[in-house]
Amino acid sequence: MAQTAQTLTKDTVRRAGDRSTTDSALAPAAAPYAARIEHVSKSFAGPAGAQPVLDDISLDVAPGEFVTLLGASGCGKSTLLNLVAGLDRPSAGSITTDGRPALMFQEHALFPWLTAGKNVELALKLRGVPKRDRRGEAERLLELVRLGGAYGKRVHELSGGMRQRVAMARALAQDSRLLLMDEPFAALDAITRDVLHDELTRIWRETDLSVLFVTHNVREAVRLAQRVVLLSSRPGRIAREWTVDIDQPRRIEDAAVAELSVEITEELRGEIRRHGRH
Protein backbone atom coordinates (compact mmCIF):
# COMPACT_ATOMS: atom_id res chain seq x y z
CA MET A 1 0.00 0.00 0.00
CA ALA A 2 1.25 3.40 -0.82
CA GLN A 3 2.28 5.36 2.19
CA THR A 4 -0.22 8.16 2.24
CA ALA A 5 -0.70 11.02 4.57
CA GLN A 6 -3.25 13.71 4.86
CA THR A 7 -2.35 16.68 6.96
CA LEU A 8 -4.74 19.40 7.92
CA THR A 9 -3.28 22.51 9.38
CA LYS A 10 -4.52 25.99 9.94
CA ASP A 11 -3.76 27.08 6.41
CA THR A 12 -2.72 24.07 4.41
CA VAL A 13 -4.22 20.76 3.47
CA ARG A 14 -1.61 18.23 2.56
CA ARG A 15 -2.87 15.05 1.04
CA ALA A 16 -0.47 12.62 -0.48
CA GLY A 17 -3.11 10.92 -2.58
CA ASP A 18 -5.70 8.40 -1.59
CA ARG A 19 -5.10 4.73 -1.44
CA SER A 20 -6.15 3.17 -4.67
CA THR A 21 -7.14 -0.42 -5.20
CA THR A 22 -4.17 -1.22 -7.36
CA ASP A 23 -1.85 -0.29 -4.54
CA SER A 24 -3.54 -2.48 -2.00
CA ALA A 25 -2.02 -5.61 -3.53
CA LEU A 26 1.38 -4.47 -2.35
CA ALA A 27 2.62 -5.18 1.15
CA PRO A 28 1.35 -2.59 3.60
CA ALA A 29 3.98 -0.16 4.75
CA ALA A 30 3.64 0.28 8.49
CA ALA A 31 2.71 3.87 9.18
CA PRO A 32 3.86 4.99 12.62
CA TYR A 33 0.34 6.15 13.41
CA ALA A 34 -3.18 6.01 12.02
CA ALA A 35 -3.84 9.55 13.17
CA ARG A 36 -1.57 12.13 14.72
CA ILE A 37 -3.17 15.11 16.41
CA GLU A 38 -0.60 17.75 17.34
CA HIS A 39 -1.39 20.76 19.54
CA VAL A 40 -4.80 21.18 17.99
CA SER A 41 -6.99 24.05 19.12
CA LYS A 42 -10.34 25.06 17.73
CA SER A 43 -12.51 28.04 18.48
CA PHE A 44 -15.83 29.10 17.05
CA ALA A 45 -17.09 32.65 16.73
CA GLY A 46 -19.59 33.21 19.54
CA PRO A 47 -21.58 36.18 20.84
CA ALA A 48 -18.70 37.07 23.19
CA GLY A 49 -15.88 36.76 20.67
CA ALA A 50 -14.02 33.59 19.78
CA GLN A 51 -15.18 30.69 21.93
CA PRO A 52 -12.44 28.09 22.49
CA VAL A 53 -13.82 24.57 22.10
CA LEU A 54 -10.62 22.54 21.97
CA ASP A 55 -7.39 23.60 23.61
CA ASP A 56 -4.01 22.13 22.73
CA ILE A 57 -5.01 18.54 22.10
CA SER A 58 -2.22 16.12 21.22
CA LEU A 59 -3.07 12.49 20.62
CA ASP A 60 -1.71 9.64 18.51
CA VAL A 61 -3.72 6.66 17.39
CA ALA A 62 -1.40 3.76 16.61
CA PRO A 63 -2.12 1.46 13.63
CA GLY A 64 -4.68 -1.09 14.71
CA GLU A 65 -5.40 0.67 17.97
CA PHE A 66 -8.86 1.19 19.44
CA VAL A 67 -9.13 4.51 21.29
CA THR A 68 -12.25 6.01 22.84
CA LEU A 69 -12.65 9.71 23.47
CA LEU A 70 -14.81 10.19 26.53
CA GLY A 71 -16.31 13.40 27.80
CA ALA A 72 -19.38 15.23 29.00
CA SER A 73 -21.41 17.55 26.79
CA GLY A 74 -19.46 20.51 25.53
CA CYS A 75 -16.06 18.86 25.66
CA GLY A 76 -15.74 19.18 21.90
CA LYS A 77 -15.29 15.49 21.24
CA SER A 78 -17.47 15.57 18.12
CA THR A 79 -15.66 18.70 16.98
CA LEU A 80 -12.36 16.89 17.32
CA LEU A 81 -13.71 13.98 15.29
CA ASN A 82 -14.90 16.35 12.56
CA LEU A 83 -11.42 17.86 12.43
CA VAL A 84 -9.83 14.43 12.08
CA ALA A 85 -12.38 13.55 9.39
CA GLY A 86 -11.37 16.67 7.46
CA LEU A 87 -14.88 18.16 7.61
CA ASP A 88 -13.47 21.22 9.39
CA ARG A 89 -10.09 22.90 9.92
CA PRO A 90 -8.32 23.36 13.24
CA SER A 91 -7.69 26.93 14.39
CA ALA A 92 -4.16 25.93 15.36
CA GLY A 93 -2.05 22.81 15.27
CA SER A 94 -2.10 20.01 12.73
CA ILE A 95 -3.76 16.68 12.14
CA THR A 96 -2.20 13.98 10.01
CA THR A 97 -4.06 10.82 9.08
CA ASP A 98 -3.01 7.75 7.20
CA GLY A 99 -5.24 8.27 4.17
CA ARG A 100 -8.81 9.52 4.25
CA PRO A 101 -10.59 8.30 7.39
CA ALA A 102 -14.05 6.76 7.32
CA LEU A 103 -16.70 8.27 9.57
CA MET A 104 -19.81 6.84 11.20
CA PHE A 105 -22.43 9.10 12.75
CA GLN A 106 -24.94 8.71 15.56
CA GLU A 107 -27.61 8.67 12.86
CA HIS A 108 -27.03 5.94 10.29
CA ALA A 109 -26.77 8.56 7.49
CA LEU A 110 -27.59 5.93 4.86
CA PHE A 111 -29.04 7.31 1.65
CA PRO A 112 -32.73 6.39 1.50
CA TRP A 113 -32.86 6.49 -2.31
CA LEU A 114 -30.47 3.54 -2.48
CA THR A 115 -30.79 -0.03 -1.25
CA ALA A 116 -28.50 -1.26 1.51
CA GLY A 117 -26.23 -2.86 -1.08
CA LYS A 118 -26.16 0.19 -3.32
CA ASN A 119 -25.23 2.38 -0.34
CA VAL A 120 -22.14 0.24 0.11
CA GLU A 121 -21.50 0.24 -3.64
CA LEU A 122 -21.61 4.03 -3.78
CA ALA A 123 -18.75 4.18 -1.31
CA LEU A 124 -16.84 1.67 -3.47
CA LYS A 125 -17.57 3.69 -6.60
CA LEU A 126 -16.39 6.93 -5.01
CA ARG A 127 -13.24 5.10 -3.94
CA GLY A 128 -12.61 4.15 -7.56
CA VAL A 129 -13.41 0.43 -7.48
CA PRO A 130 -14.25 -0.71 -11.04
CA LYS A 131 -17.91 -1.48 -11.69
CA ARG A 132 -17.47 -5.22 -12.23
CA ASP A 133 -15.97 -5.69 -8.75
CA ARG A 134 -18.45 -3.58 -6.81
CA ARG A 135 -21.33 -6.00 -6.42
CA GLY A 136 -19.19 -8.82 -5.09
CA GLU A 137 -17.28 -6.55 -2.74
CA ALA A 138 -20.50 -4.99 -1.40
CA GLU A 139 -21.90 -8.46 -0.73
CA ARG A 140 -18.72 -9.48 1.03
CA LEU A 141 -18.87 -6.40 3.28
CA LEU A 142 -22.55 -6.98 4.09
CA GLU A 143 -21.64 -10.54 4.90
CA LEU A 144 -18.95 -9.23 7.25
CA VAL A 145 -21.57 -7.32 9.26
CA ARG A 146 -23.81 -10.41 8.97
CA LEU A 147 -26.36 -8.85 6.66
CA GLY A 148 -25.77 -11.12 3.71
CA GLY A 149 -29.44 -11.18 2.75
CA ALA A 150 -30.00 -7.45 3.02
CA TYR A 151 -28.43 -6.34 -0.28
CA GLY A 152 -31.73 -5.40 -1.92
CA LYS A 153 -33.40 -4.05 1.20
CA ARG A 154 -34.44 -0.42 1.39
CA VAL A 155 -33.13 1.57 4.33
CA HIS A 156 -36.59 2.03 5.86
CA GLU A 157 -37.12 -1.73 5.84
CA LEU A 158 -34.19 -2.25 8.20
CA SER A 159 -34.19 -2.00 12.00
CA GLY A 160 -32.03 0.57 13.79
CA GLY A 161 -29.32 -1.98 14.53
CA MET A 162 -29.30 -3.26 10.95
CA ARG A 163 -28.99 0.28 9.63
CA GLN A 164 -25.94 0.93 11.77
CA ARG A 165 -24.42 -2.32 10.54
CA VAL A 166 -25.00 -1.29 6.92
CA ALA A 167 -23.44 2.07 7.81
CA MET A 168 -20.50 0.12 9.20
CA ALA A 169 -20.23 -1.88 5.96
CA ARG A 170 -20.32 1.37 4.01
CA ALA A 171 -17.60 2.85 6.19
CA LEU A 172 -15.49 -0.29 5.72
CA ALA A 173 -16.05 0.02 1.96
CA GLN A 174 -13.90 3.13 2.03
CA ASP A 175 -10.99 0.84 2.83
CA SER A 176 -9.64 3.41 5.27
CA ARG A 177 -7.15 2.43 7.90
CA LEU A 178 -8.87 4.68 10.41
CA LEU A 179 -12.54 4.47 11.36
CA LEU A 180 -13.97 7.45 13.22
CA MET A 181 -17.15 6.77 15.15
CA ASP A 182 -19.26 9.59 16.57
CA GLU A 183 -21.49 7.98 19.23
CA PRO A 184 -22.73 5.49 16.63
CA PHE A 185 -24.76 3.38 19.08
CA ALA A 186 -26.20 6.16 21.25
CA ALA A 187 -29.62 6.04 19.62
CA LEU A 188 -30.02 2.25 19.85
CA ASP A 189 -31.78 0.25 22.55
CA ALA A 190 -29.59 -1.44 25.16
CA ILE A 191 -29.92 -4.98 23.78
CA THR A 192 -29.03 -3.97 20.24
CA ARG A 193 -26.18 -1.76 21.46
CA ASP A 194 -24.72 -4.65 23.40
CA VAL A 195 -24.82 -6.87 20.31
CA LEU A 196 -23.23 -4.17 18.17
CA HIS A 197 -20.42 -3.81 20.70
CA ASP A 198 -19.64 -7.49 20.20
CA GLU A 199 -19.91 -7.04 16.46
CA LEU A 200 -17.61 -4.03 16.36
CA THR A 201 -15.03 -5.81 18.52
CA ARG A 202 -15.17 -8.84 16.22
CA ILE A 203 -14.75 -6.76 13.06
CA TRP A 204 -11.97 -4.68 14.58
CA ARG A 205 -10.10 -7.87 15.47
CA GLU A 206 -10.65 -9.43 12.05
CA THR A 207 -9.31 -6.38 10.19
CA ASP A 208 -6.31 -4.11 10.61
CA LEU A 209 -8.53 -1.15 11.35
CA SER A 210 -7.72 1.61 13.84
CA VAL A 211 -10.74 3.07 15.58
CA LEU A 212 -11.26 6.45 17.22
CA PHE A 213 -14.59 6.17 19.01
CA VAL A 214 -16.38 9.11 20.64
CA THR A 215 -18.86 8.48 23.44
CA HIS A 216 -20.25 9.91 26.67
CA ASN A 217 -20.94 6.41 27.96
CA VAL A 218 -18.14 5.31 30.33
CA ARG A 219 -19.04 1.61 30.30
CA GLU A 220 -19.14 1.62 26.51
CA ALA A 221 -15.74 3.28 26.39
CA VAL A 222 -14.21 0.67 28.70
CA ARG A 223 -16.04 -2.21 27.02
CA LEU A 224 -14.57 -1.38 23.61
CA ALA A 225 -11.26 0.38 23.88
CA GLN A 226 -7.61 -0.42 24.44
CA ARG A 227 -7.16 3.15 25.57
CA VAL A 228 -9.69 5.59 27.05
CA VAL A 229 -8.97 9.31 26.76
CA LEU A 230 -10.97 11.61 29.03
CA LEU A 231 -11.60 15.14 27.79
CA SER A 232 -12.42 18.03 30.09
CA SER A 233 -15.11 20.46 29.02
CA ARG A 234 -15.05 24.08 27.85
CA PRO A 235 -12.51 24.13 26.47
CA GLY A 236 -11.81 20.49 25.72
CA ARG A 237 -8.43 19.38 27.00
CA ILE A 238 -7.06 15.91 27.58
CA ALA A 239 -7.67 15.36 31.30
CA ARG A 240 -6.47 11.80 31.72
CA GLU A 241 -5.81 8.58 29.89
CA TRP A 242 -6.26 4.92 30.85
CA THR A 243 -4.94 1.80 29.17
CA VAL A 244 -7.55 -0.94 29.39
CA ASP A 245 -5.80 -4.23 30.14
CA ILE A 246 -8.82 -6.48 29.96
CA ASP A 247 -9.00 -9.34 27.47
CA GLN A 248 -11.28 -9.03 24.47
CA PRO A 249 -13.93 -10.16 23.93
CA ARG A 250 -15.17 -8.40 27.03
CA ARG A 251 -18.69 -7.98 28.21
CA ILE A 252 -20.12 -4.72 29.41
CA GLU A 253 -21.14 -6.40 32.70
CA ASP A 254 -17.65 -7.85 33.42
CA ALA A 255 -16.39 -7.01 36.89
CA ALA A 256 -13.12 -5.62 35.52
CA VAL A 257 -15.03 -3.36 33.13
CA ALA A 258 -17.23 -2.16 35.99
CA GLU A 259 -14.27 -1.53 38.26
CA LEU A 260 -12.43 0.66 35.79
CA SER A 261 -15.69 2.38 34.85
CA VAL A 262 -16.21 3.44 38.46
CA GLU A 263 -12.76 4.97 38.56
CA ILE A 264 -13.23 6.82 35.27
CA THR A 265 -16.73 7.98 36.22
CA GLU A 266 -15.34 9.51 39.43
CA GLU A 267 -12.78 11.42 37.40
CA LEU A 268 -15.41 12.50 34.87
CA ARG A 269 -17.70 13.74 37.65
CA GLY A 270 -14.81 15.69 39.12
CA GLU A 271 -14.30 17.37 35.75
CA ILE A 272 -17.99 18.23 35.54
CA ARG A 273 -18.10 19.58 39.12
CA ARG A 274 -15.37 22.08 38.33
CA HIS A 275 -17.85 23.89 36.08
CA GLY A 276 -20.35 24.44 38.87
CA ARG A 277 -17.84 26.27 41.05
CA HIS A 278 -17.77 29.59 39.28
Binding site: A85, F105, S159, Q226
Partner: protein, 307 residues
Protein backbone atom coordinates in the same frame (compact mmCIF):
# COMPACT_ATOMS: atom_id res chain seq x y z
CA UNK B 1 -10.46 -23.48 24.65
CA UNK B 2 -8.48 -20.66 26.09
CA UNK B 3 -11.39 -18.39 26.66
CA UNK B 4 -10.38 -17.47 30.17
CA UNK B 5 -6.73 -16.75 29.50
CA UNK B 6 -5.70 -13.75 31.50
CA UNK B 7 -2.55 -11.85 32.12
CA UNK B 8 -2.02 -10.71 28.56
CA UNK B 9 -3.47 -7.48 27.31
CA UNK B 10 -6.36 -7.81 24.90
CA UNK B 11 -4.63 -8.27 21.60
CA UNK B 12 -6.37 -9.64 18.57
CA UNK B 13 -4.65 -12.94 17.94
CA UNK B 14 -4.90 -14.52 21.36
CA UNK B 15 -8.64 -14.98 21.35
CA UNK B 16 -9.29 -16.23 17.84
CA UNK B 17 -10.52 -19.68 18.88
CA UNK B 18 -13.15 -18.62 21.43
CA UNK B 19 -14.20 -15.89 19.03
CA UNK B 20 -15.36 -18.52 16.56
CA UNK B 21 -17.61 -20.18 19.10
CA UNK B 22 -18.83 -16.87 20.41
CA UNK B 23 -19.31 -15.75 16.82
CA UNK B 24 -22.01 -18.37 16.26
CA UNK B 25 -23.81 -17.22 19.38
CA UNK B 26 -23.62 -13.67 18.18
CA UNK B 27 -24.84 -14.51 14.70
CA UNK B 28 -27.87 -16.30 16.14
CA UNK B 29 -28.58 -13.45 18.53
CA UNK B 30 -28.35 -10.94 15.73
CA UNK B 31 -30.56 -12.95 13.41
CA UNK B 32 -33.16 -13.03 16.20
CA UNK B 33 -32.95 -9.29 16.78
CA UNK B 34 -33.19 -8.57 13.06
CA UNK B 35 -36.25 -10.76 12.70
CA UNK B 36 -37.92 -9.15 15.69
CA UNK B 37 -37.30 -5.61 14.59
CA UNK B 38 -37.76 -5.74 10.84
CA UNK B 39 -40.80 -4.07 9.39
CA UNK B 40 -43.09 -6.31 7.38
CA UNK B 41 -44.32 -4.55 4.27
CA UNK B 42 -47.27 -5.91 2.38
CA UNK B 43 -48.77 -5.07 -0.98
CA UNK B 44 -52.30 -3.75 -0.92
CA UNK B 45 -54.70 -6.22 -2.57
CA UNK B 46 -56.52 -5.04 -5.71
CA UNK B 47 -59.93 -5.26 -4.05
CA UNK B 48 -58.81 -2.89 -1.31
CA UNK B 49 -57.39 -0.44 -3.86
CA UNK B 50 -60.70 -0.45 -5.75
CA UNK B 51 -62.67 0.02 -2.56
CA UNK B 52 -60.50 2.72 -0.99
CA UNK B 53 -58.96 4.59 -3.90
CA UNK B 54 -61.27 4.20 -6.91
CA UNK B 55 -64.74 4.08 -5.40
CA UNK B 56 -64.69 7.43 -3.50
CA UNK B 57 -63.84 9.68 -6.49
CA UNK B 58 -66.33 7.82 -8.72
CA UNK B 59 -69.01 8.39 -6.09
CA UNK B 60 -68.15 12.09 -5.99
CA UNK B 61 -68.41 12.37 -9.80
CA UNK B 62 -71.72 10.50 -9.81
CA UNK B 63 -73.03 12.84 -7.11
CA UNK B 64 -72.09 15.94 -9.13
CA UNK B 65 -73.87 14.49 -12.20
CA UNK B 66 -77.00 13.77 -10.13
CA UNK B 67 -77.08 17.30 -8.67
CA UNK B 68 -76.48 18.77 -12.14
CA UNK B 69 -79.35 16.74 -13.61
CA UNK B 70 -81.63 17.71 -10.70
CA UNK B 71 -80.88 21.41 -11.27
CA UNK B 72 -81.80 20.98 -14.92
CA UNK B 73 -85.03 19.19 -14.03
CA UNK B 74 -86.20 21.84 -11.58
CA UNK B 75 -85.31 24.43 -14.25
CA UNK B 76 -83.17 26.52 -11.93
CA UNK B 77 -82.22 28.66 -14.93
CA UNK B 78 -82.78 28.87 -18.70
CA UNK B 79 -81.60 25.90 -20.70
CA UNK B 80 -79.18 27.92 -22.85
CA UNK B 81 -77.33 28.82 -19.64
CA UNK B 82 -77.31 25.38 -18.07
CA UNK B 83 -77.41 22.54 -20.58
CA UNK B 84 -78.42 19.04 -19.49
CA UNK B 85 -75.65 16.44 -19.03
CA UNK B 86 -77.19 14.59 -21.96
CA UNK B 87 -76.73 17.63 -24.22
CA UNK B 88 -73.04 17.79 -23.33
CA UNK B 89 -72.80 14.03 -23.94
CA UNK B 90 -74.44 14.55 -27.36
CA UNK B 91 -71.88 17.16 -28.42
CA UNK B 92 -69.14 14.82 -27.23
CA UNK B 93 -70.43 11.91 -29.32
CA UNK B 94 -70.96 14.24 -32.25
CA UNK B 95 -67.32 15.33 -32.14
CA UNK B 96 -66.31 11.70 -31.73
CA UNK B 97 -68.31 10.64 -34.78
CA UNK B 98 -66.91 13.53 -36.84
CA UNK B 99 -63.46 12.37 -35.81
CA UNK B 100 -62.48 15.82 -34.54
CA UNK B 101 -62.36 14.93 -30.83
CA UNK B 102 -58.97 13.31 -30.70
CA UNK B 103 -57.57 15.91 -33.12
CA UNK B 104 -58.58 18.79 -30.83
CA UNK B 105 -57.35 17.03 -27.71
CA UNK B 106 -54.08 16.00 -29.34
CA UNK B 107 -53.39 19.54 -30.65
CA UNK B 108 -53.49 20.87 -27.11
CA UNK B 109 -51.90 17.91 -25.33
CA UNK B 110 -48.94 17.72 -27.74
CA UNK B 111 -48.38 21.45 -27.39
CA UNK B 112 -48.67 21.26 -23.61
CA UNK B 113 -46.30 18.30 -23.24
CA UNK B 114 -43.73 19.70 -25.66
CA UNK B 115 -43.86 23.04 -23.87
CA UNK B 116 -43.51 21.25 -20.54
CA UNK B 117 -40.46 19.32 -21.74
CA UNK B 118 -38.88 22.59 -22.89
CA UNK B 119 -39.65 24.12 -19.50
CA UNK B 120 -38.06 21.06 -17.87
CA UNK B 121 -34.90 21.44 -19.94
CA UNK B 122 -34.58 25.11 -18.97
CA UNK B 123 -35.94 25.02 -15.42
CA UNK B 124 -33.72 22.18 -14.18
CA UNK B 125 -30.29 23.73 -14.83
CA UNK B 126 -31.67 27.10 -13.78
CA UNK B 127 -32.92 25.68 -10.49
CA UNK B 128 -29.62 23.92 -9.86
CA UNK B 129 -27.74 27.15 -10.53
CA UNK B 130 -29.97 29.13 -8.17
CA UNK B 131 -29.71 26.45 -5.49
CA UNK B 132 -25.95 26.03 -5.59
CA UNK B 133 -24.52 29.45 -6.52
CA UNK B 134 -25.03 32.02 -3.77
CA UNK B 135 -24.77 35.04 -6.06
CA UNK B 136 -27.29 33.70 -8.56
CA UNK B 137 -29.62 32.78 -5.71
CA UNK B 138 -29.48 36.25 -4.19
CA UNK B 139 -29.99 37.79 -7.62
CA UNK B 140 -32.93 35.87 -9.04
CA UNK B 141 -34.60 33.75 -6.35
CA UNK B 142 -37.04 36.56 -5.39
CA UNK B 143 -37.87 37.14 -9.06
CA UNK B 144 -38.48 33.42 -9.61
CA UNK B 145 -40.83 33.27 -6.63
CA UNK B 146 -42.58 36.43 -7.78
CA UNK B 147 -43.07 35.08 -11.29
CA UNK B 148 -44.94 32.13 -9.82
CA UNK B 149 -47.69 34.40 -8.55
CA UNK B 150 -48.01 36.25 -11.84
CA UNK B 151 -50.95 34.78 -13.81
CA UNK B 152 -49.48 33.50 -17.04
CA UNK B 153 -52.41 34.94 -19.01
CA UNK B 154 -50.64 38.29 -18.50
CA UNK B 155 -47.90 37.09 -20.83
CA UNK B 156 -50.26 36.45 -23.75
CA UNK B 157 -50.59 40.06 -25.06
CA UNK B 158 -46.84 40.78 -25.12
CA UNK B 159 -46.10 37.31 -26.53
CA UNK B 160 -48.56 37.89 -29.38
CA UNK B 161 -46.96 41.24 -30.18
CA UNK B 162 -43.40 39.93 -29.99
CA UNK B 163 -43.85 36.58 -31.67
CA UNK B 164 -47.11 36.75 -33.62
CA UNK B 165 -49.97 34.28 -33.65
CA UNK B 166 -48.13 30.99 -33.88
CA UNK B 167 -46.95 27.99 -31.90
CA UNK B 168 -43.76 29.78 -30.80
CA UNK B 169 -45.88 32.29 -28.93
CA UNK B 170 -47.76 29.43 -27.21
CA UNK B 171 -44.50 27.85 -26.10
CA UNK B 172 -43.22 31.19 -24.84
CA UNK B 173 -46.30 31.57 -22.63
CA UNK B 174 -45.93 27.98 -21.35
CA UNK B 175 -42.25 28.54 -20.55
CA UNK B 176 -42.91 31.74 -18.66
CA UNK B 177 -45.56 29.92 -16.62
CA UNK B 178 -43.80 26.63 -15.96
CA UNK B 179 -40.06 27.38 -15.72
CA UNK B 180 -40.34 29.28 -12.40
CA UNK B 181 -42.33 26.42 -10.82
CA UNK B 182 -39.86 23.77 -11.90
CA UNK B 183 -36.82 25.84 -10.87
CA UNK B 184 -38.40 26.74 -7.52
CA UNK B 185 -39.32 23.13 -6.83
CA UNK B 186 -35.74 22.07 -7.41
CA UNK B 187 -34.39 24.89 -5.23
CA UNK B 188 -36.61 23.98 -2.29
CA UNK B 189 -35.80 20.32 -2.86
CA UNK B 190 -32.08 21.09 -2.62
CA UNK B 191 -32.62 23.34 0.41
CA UNK B 192 -34.37 20.52 2.23
CA UNK B 193 -31.57 18.00 1.76
CA UNK B 194 -30.56 17.02 5.31
CA UNK B 195 -27.02 18.35 6.04
CA UNK B 196 -26.17 14.88 7.38
CA UNK B 197 -26.35 13.45 3.84
CA UNK B 198 -23.97 16.11 2.60
CA UNK B 199 -21.52 15.38 5.43
CA UNK B 200 -21.82 11.65 4.86
CA UNK B 201 -21.27 12.23 1.15
CA UNK B 202 -18.19 14.33 1.81
CA UNK B 203 -16.61 11.69 4.04
CA UNK B 204 -17.22 9.18 1.24
CA UNK B 205 -15.47 11.50 -1.19
CA UNK B 206 -18.50 12.90 -2.99
CA UNK B 207 -17.56 16.55 -3.39
CA UNK B 208 -18.15 19.09 -6.15
CA UNK B 209 -19.84 17.69 -9.24
CA UNK B 210 -19.80 14.13 -7.87
CA UNK B 211 -21.53 15.38 -4.74
CA UNK B 212 -24.21 17.09 -6.85
CA UNK B 213 -24.71 13.99 -8.97
CA UNK B 214 -24.66 11.29 -6.29
CA UNK B 215 -25.98 13.09 -3.22
CA UNK B 216 -27.69 16.43 -3.88
CA UNK B 217 -29.78 15.51 -6.93
CA UNK B 218 -31.17 12.20 -5.64
CA UNK B 219 -31.77 13.68 -2.19
CA UNK B 220 -33.66 16.61 -3.73
CA UNK B 221 -35.79 14.38 -5.97
CA UNK B 222 -39.04 14.53 -3.94
CA UNK B 223 -39.04 18.35 -3.94
CA UNK B 224 -38.07 18.38 -7.60
CA UNK B 225 -40.95 16.06 -8.51
CA UNK B 226 -43.40 18.27 -6.61
CA UNK B 227 -42.05 21.15 -8.70
CA UNK B 228 -42.55 19.15 -11.91
CA UNK B 229 -46.12 18.37 -10.95
CA UNK B 230 -46.82 22.01 -10.36
CA UNK B 231 -44.88 22.87 -13.50
CA UNK B 232 -47.20 20.67 -15.54
CA UNK B 233 -50.28 22.31 -14.00
CA UNK B 234 -48.83 25.73 -14.87
CA UNK B 235 -47.95 24.61 -18.41
CA UNK B 236 -51.48 23.41 -19.03
CA UNK B 237 -53.12 26.51 -17.53
CA UNK B 238 -50.82 28.84 -19.47
CA UNK B 239 -51.53 27.01 -22.69
CA UNK B 240 -55.30 27.19 -22.20
CA UNK B 241 -55.05 30.94 -21.49
CA UNK B 242 -53.05 31.39 -24.68
CA UNK B 243 -55.42 29.26 -26.76
CA UNK B 244 -58.52 31.06 -25.53
CA UNK B 245 -57.16 34.53 -26.24
CA UNK B 246 -55.17 33.94 -29.39
CA UNK B 247 -57.01 32.24 -32.19
CA UNK B 248 -56.01 32.09 -35.78
CA UNK B 249 -56.61 29.52 -38.51
CA UNK B 250 -52.88 28.67 -38.59
CA UNK B 251 -52.94 27.64 -34.96
CA UNK B 252 -55.31 24.75 -35.55
CA UNK B 253 -58.19 23.88 -33.24
CA UNK B 254 -57.15 23.19 -29.65
CA UNK B 255 -59.26 22.85 -26.51
CA UNK B 256 -58.92 26.57 -25.72
CA UNK B 257 -60.22 27.54 -29.16
CA UNK B 258 -63.01 24.97 -28.78
CA UNK B 259 -64.11 26.81 -25.66
CA UNK B 260 -63.85 30.21 -27.31
CA UNK B 261 -65.79 28.98 -30.39
CA UNK B 262 -68.53 27.66 -28.12
CA UNK B 263 -68.86 31.11 -26.55
CA UNK B 264 -69.00 32.84 -29.95
CA UNK B 265 -71.67 30.44 -31.23
CA UNK B 266 -73.69 30.60 -28.03
CA UNK B 267 -73.23 26.83 -27.83
CA UNK B 268 -73.35 26.15 -24.10
CA UNK B 269 -73.01 22.32 -24.36
CA UNK B 270 -69.85 22.97 -26.42
CA UNK B 271 -68.50 25.31 -23.71
CA UNK B 272 -69.21 22.75 -20.98
CA UNK B 273 -67.63 20.02 -23.05
CA UNK B 274 -64.48 22.08 -23.61
CA UNK B 275 -64.15 22.88 -19.90
CA UNK B 276 -64.65 19.22 -18.96
CA UNK B 277 -62.08 18.08 -21.51
CA UNK B 278 -59.51 20.61 -20.25
CA UNK B 279 -60.12 19.37 -16.71
CA UNK B 280 -59.98 15.70 -17.67
CA UNK B 281 -56.73 16.08 -19.63
CA UNK B 282 -55.11 17.93 -16.71
CA UNK B 283 -56.16 15.22 -14.26
CA UNK B 284 -55.29 12.37 -16.62
CA UNK B 285 -51.71 13.55 -17.23
CA UNK B 286 -51.24 13.95 -13.49
CA UNK B 287 -52.70 10.52 -12.74
CA UNK B 288 -50.86 8.74 -15.53
CA UNK B 289 -47.44 10.36 -15.24
CA UNK B 290 -46.75 12.43 -12.17
CA UNK B 291 -48.64 10.70 -9.39
CA UNK B 292 -47.20 7.23 -10.08
CA UNK B 293 -43.72 8.74 -10.35
CA UNK B 294 -44.11 10.61 -7.09
CA UNK B 295 -45.59 7.62 -5.28
CA UNK B 296 -42.80 5.37 -6.51
CA UNK B 297 -40.11 7.78 -5.27
CA UNK B 298 -41.75 8.33 -1.90
CA UNK B 299 -42.52 4.65 -1.37
CA UNK B 300 -39.01 3.50 -2.20
CA UNK B 301 -37.76 5.89 0.49
CA UNK B 302 -40.32 4.80 3.05
CA UNK B 303 -41.94 8.23 3.02
CA UNK B 304 -45.50 7.04 2.42
CA UNK B 305 -47.48 6.15 5.54
CA UNK B 306 -49.05 3.14 3.85
CA UNK B 307 -47.07 1.28 1.26
Amino acid sequence: MAGTDTGTTGTRADAAAPAAAKGDDLAGLEAGLDALESVQTRRTPVREVLLKKVLPPLTAVALVLVVWQLLVWVKVTEEYKLPAPSAVWDSLSEMWLQGTLHEVVWTSVSRGLLGFLLALAIGTPLGLLVARVAFVRAAIRPILSGLQSLPSVAWVPPAVIWLGLNDTMMFAVILLGAVPSIANGLVSGVDQVPPLYLRAGRTLGATGLRGTLHIVMPAALPGYLAGLKQGWAFSWRSLMAAEIIASSPELGLGLGQLLENGRNNFDMPGVFLAILLILIVGIAIDLLIFSPLERWVLRSRGLLARS
